[in-house]
């Protein structure tokens, strides 16, 4: 895997990397889209590997008119404290049979680049919810790091049950996020995986849910009062005003055309 910076070399030493895992419903990728569009992150380079299918488009984000959108692009969040933040967007899946190779190549690149922390945003099929999760909408997390686990619990995230995690890691061992978690662990990097249960369909609300969780952990964007949520004797509900990118305009196809 090779990184091609746009303007000069990038210094990733000690930085945090946020990236999606291409899994059920593409929730991680949609959440990363929201973060990039809302924070107007500039693209600083692209990653190249034969393990990922190629794709190209234009004008993915309003703040980058005329810019190419490619399979693997890296965006930078200036001024993120205490550690700089880089966001990797993945727009294409791994080639068939190459999931593990991709995960290992990415893990090697992350390790060689000197990233200090890796956060994976992903989703799991909602049909796998256990009884206690059916009526909840909480974010789950996977992390072997006790400090990060404690921090996530403080934020209201629930740790994914060990039994479910073991079952999925075995049944879907060749699929993300398990391939990435395994590959990063082999490089002595303990990733934090934020997981939402989601079904295929309109996953924009799920993406907002995951983006909110990432925001609570990384404190990227301040909350604002939700319009119309004012009540007489209470504070208004707060929400993060996520901006959907312009590429979402035709998420479910081009506009309907007149039949007659």
């Amino acid at each position: 895997m090779q990184f091609f910076p746009h303007d000069g070399a990038c210094d990733f030493q000690g930085a945090t990397l946020l990236m999606p895992c291409v899994a059920s419903a593409n929730v991680g990728q949609l959440a990363v889209d929201l973060i990039i569009a809302t924070l107007q992150l500039p693209c600083v380079g692209q990653l190249e590997t034969t393990s990922i299918l190629p794709c190209a488009g234009l004008d993915a984000f309003d703040h980058q008119p005329g810019q190419l959108a490619l399979s693997l692009q890296l965006f930078e969040h200036h001024g993120q404290q205490p550690k700089p933040l880089y966001v990797l967007q993945q727009r294409a899946p791994a080639a068939k049979g190459c999931q593990q190779q991709y995960a290992q190549a990415l893990a090697h690149w992350v390790s060689d680049s000197g990233f200090d922390e890796v956060i994976l945003a992903t989703s799991i099929d909602a049909t796998l919810k256990r009884d206690r999760q059916i009526f909840t909408h909480s974010i789950n997390f996977i992390s072997a790091d006790t400090d990060k686990a404690h921090q996530c619990r403080e934020l209201g995230f629930e740790q994914l049950e060990a039994g479910l995690m073991a079952d999925l890691a075995q049944q879907q061992a060749l699929l993300p996020p398990w391939t990435l978690i395994e590959a990063l662990s082999q490089q002595n990097i303990t990733p934090l995986c934020l997981v939402a249960f989601a079904s295929e369909g309109n996953n924009a609300p799920d993406a907002v849910h995951v983006a909110d969780a990432v925001n609570r952990y990384l404190k990227l964007v301040g909350s604002q009062p939700k319009p119309g949520s004012q009540v007489a004797d209470g504070p208004p509900a707060m929400h993060v005003p996520w901006l959907p990118p312009m590429s979402w305009q035709c998420l479910f196809g081009s506009a309907a055309r007149a039949v007659y």
Partner: protein, 309 residues
């Protein structure tokens, strides 16, 4: 009996994904193997340091482009072929023929003539020379090579997994001032204005290095929300990383056989893009004639997506 849920038929289960991934593991190494590229002796004579330099590299990767551009090479001999590694290792591929489903390449100068003007006497005792008709080029040709273009007809359906390495393999040995890939995008993947079933829709995706020159052509850019894949995307990605000039000209495909309006627009756009980057080996009127012939040929071969050049 498998009764797939019609509502979720497009979304395989994760267990199905896992099974597919497991089944694809034995062939995964092929994804990283470069194609085998064979050049004629004439083209080999032009190479320096194992690379051939041309002004434009034009890759036709769909049936419409192959039919449209084949008239440029009707009576020419191939300068080379590209084949997948497993094809090159197959038995009996000493001289590929169209039936072998390989990609043929043709070198053309700006007048549209092939860079193979005369045939030299064949060496005695050379069976390969007897079958290929080895050609000589003028001694001055390497100097004028910069004004010639390489046409590649990728007329076999290529797996998406192989496109990146295929393009890397080709661009590793061909140094072009500009790369043009003509490709298709299925209508169901298109997100944008217009109705592909009614209108002829072609768009471009440029690398940053190609943008300035290509924008003068007036060809609309791909609307936001649509993604191209395959060889066109591989070319743009490779070129963008290395600050090379590349353009993908993509036609929105709503029917198996493009109509005359679509072929005319494609011909017009190809000519504009080539001229914007300094090539003039295709003339507008000959392209229009080719478009009419292409429509007939494509309609006749509607059951076969690709025509062999």
């Amino acid at each position: 009996m498998d009764m797939s849920d019609p509502l979720t038929a497009d979304f395989p289960t994760r267990n199905a994904d896992q099974d597919e991934e497991l089944a694809a593991l034995p062939d995964a190494a092929l994804v990283h193997q470069r194609p085998a590229i064979f050049w004629s002796s004439a083209a080999t004579a032009c190479m320096e340091g194992g690379k051939i330099s041309v002004q434009q590299l034009v890759i036709a990767s769909n049936a419409a482009a192959c039919q449209l551009l084949r008239h440029c090479c009707m009576t020419q001999q191939a300068a080379g072929v590209i084949m997948l590694p497993e094809q090159a290792q197959g038995p009996g591929i000493a001289l590929p023929s169209p039936a072998d489903k390989v990609c043929f390449m043709y070198l053309l100068d700006n007048s549209g003539a092939a860079l193979q003007p005369t045939a030299s006497p064949l060496k005695e005792g050379s069976s390969l020379a007897a079958s290929t008709g080895r050609l000589n080029l003028n001694a001055s040709l390497p100097a004028s090579q910069q004004t010639c273009s390489l046409l590649v007809f990728c007329q076999l359906p290529m797996q998406p997994e192989r496109t990146t390495i295929w393009m890397q393999g080709l661009l590793h040995v061909v140094q072009a001032q500009h790369v043009l890939v003509v490709a298709s995008l299925p209508a169901f993947s298109y997100r944008g204005p217009g109705d592909p079933s009614q209108d002829a829709l072609h768009y471009v995706v440029h690398s940053s290095a190609a943008k300035q020159r290509s924008q003068s052509c007036g060809i609309p850019s791909l609307p936001s929300g649509s993604l191209i894949t395959g060889l066109a995307a591989a070319a743009v990605q490779y070129s963008e990383a290395r600050r090379l000039s590349a353009t993908a000209l993509v036609g929105i495909e709503a029917r198996p056989v493009p109509d005359m309006a679509s072929l005319r627009q494609l011909a017009d756009y190809i000519e504009k893009l080539l001229k914007a980057h300094g090539s003039s080996f295709i003339q507008a009127d000959s392209l229009m004639t080719a478009a009419k012939q292409a429509e007939k040929a494509l309609s006749a071969a509607a059951s076969n997506s690709f025509m062999y050049v």
